[in-house]
Symmetry: C2
Subunit: 300 residues, 2 copies
């Protein structure tokens, strides 16, 4: 059966439920609090926030919103006046441990009253310290998920992530990337609408499985003050990406979205020091060298 | 004598020198380090940073840059292709003590090869805790400076600051405002070019005199952990303003300015917590109530 927006909204809502249960298990201690909110022009969402033991600050947003399409989107998409419907799940987890990476995922569905629709989303990893083995394993798992659905996805969506999660003013990628995709529909793809939905749901359901080894490998390692300082510094870059470059954040703030739900992605603490220098040959320099390549090197 | 761009550049450079000497005296311990930098397309600057005792992180930038006008400015100003020259001084001071406000000032001069020129600038105060008496005293001093040059300035530039230093996504002003002005030239004003330069230099030279009482009134007061937490939280808002809304920051990052000089305005440490709540009737709530008015209430 070809899914309609009610089916997709229901699936997204369940996805949030499943992921939250698994994240609580992974954290081991923290519990999500939930805020339900309504959007004045139509729809609303459920924002869930956890302040846990392993996860210092984590947010899992579900939303399903609709109404007249904001002028800013109409202009960006060169569309005539029409109504829109959008639903999706967004996640950002900021771990306490500097050796556990920050992780982000988003899956979304858009539909316009003129009949067009598309899926979009992505997942990317932002290690404070790049661990090549872990990063490549993450990419390998992503490729496996993609390959289950379409053999062209990974090779198209991996470079898209390298390009999207990039800070031009720093000449740095945000992290080791992952996959990013947008405007997928049955016109542009070999897959039908139901199969595209299966892909984004599969990706969503694999989220905690992708993150779990990065947590369990590192959570018990000792932490130094240098590592904490570097973590706050790298979180500063995360803030810069989200507030200056991220299209989703900009779009949300520009169109009067719920600020606390949009900015749940910001870290609990961050730091900026002028012209921060790193020790030659140290792990911080290694991380910078990788981020400054402009794309994550695979070779796996 | 009508000042030309060489005169104005020299004055701006001296202004930076004078202000840095006075800030070091005010801090009592910290010394500025200086980075000189060149701009590939023409010109350069001197960035000075202090990490002191009273001032946790302070930056004073001087720059004088020129060359073909970046496309983004041409479009914004509806101009044909031409060369530009710009010089100015920018300051942001982040104090350690939560009862001392963050302060920002900028004075700038722009000249285009088509013959047009203008002055711009502003100064504004961002208290972590609004102290009405101090804020009104700050405004009174600003009015006195303005009145020495033109009786219309303060009444025009105070509301301009209320409007400019505003976070739409929070429904909050950044702080208690001050003055903001742009595109001042002898066509738009009663004053000639030399008199306009005198105004911005007078404002610049009064900078430390404006800030000094805010430091000396508060530097020896005891500090609580609640105050520190609130300070980090308010600094998070400062980051949001500068990265999301500030036109100078956006323009700098968009046109390939020197990132470390532009982002010296960011605080040494900041925090974000989801849906931060304040105690009813406490000083944090009082501050929020003032910031949410949309303009600083004078009544002096």
């Amino acid at each position: 059966m070809r899914p309609n927006k009610e089916n997709i909204e229901r699936e997204m809502r369940s996805l949030q439920d499943e992921i939250c249960i698994e994240i609580e298990k992974l954290d081991g201690k923290g519990k999500f609090r939930e805020d339900q909110w309504d959007r004045k022009e139509g729809g609303g969402g459920r924002t869930r926030i956890l302040e846990g033991e392993t996860i210092e600050k984590g947010g899992v947003n579900f939303s399903a919103v609709y109404g007249p399409t904001p002028k800013k989107i109409l202009n960006a998409l060169h569309l005539e006046e029409c109504d829109f419907f959008a639903t999706g799940v967004s996640i950002v987890l900021h771990p306490r441990h500097p050796l556990i990476p920050i992780i982000h995922m988003n899956v979304r569905y858009f539909e316009m009253s003129n009949g067009s629709y598309w899926f979009g989303g992505g997942i990317d990893l932002t290690p404070h310290y790049v661990n090549m083995k872990e990063a490549r394993q993450f990419h390998k798992q992503l490729q496996e998920i993609c390959d289950r659905h379409d053999p062209t996805f990974y090779q198209r969506f991996k470079p898209w992530a390298d390009e999207y999660f990039y800070l031009p003013h720093r000449g740095e990628n945000r992290g080791v990337g992952g996959i990013f995709f947008d405007r997928l529909d049955e016109e542009s793809e070999e897959l039908g609408k139901g199969q595209l939905l299966d892909f984004v749901l599969d990706l969503g359901r694999q989220f905690v499985r992708l993150y779990r080894p990065l947590v369990s490998n590192n959570r018990d390692l000792p932490i130094t003050q240098d590592q904490k300082d570097w973590q706050y510094h790298r979180r500063g870059r995360y803030v810069e990406f989200n507030l200056v470059w991220d299209k989703g954040t900009k779009f949300g703030l520009d169109t009067g979205g719920r600020t606390e739900s949009i900015l749940m992605s910001l870290p609990p603490r961050a730091a900026w020091s002028y012209d921060h220098e790193v020790k030659e040959g140290g792990p911080e320099e290694h991380t910078l060298n990788i981020l400054q390549l402009g794309k994550f090197p695979l070779n796996h």
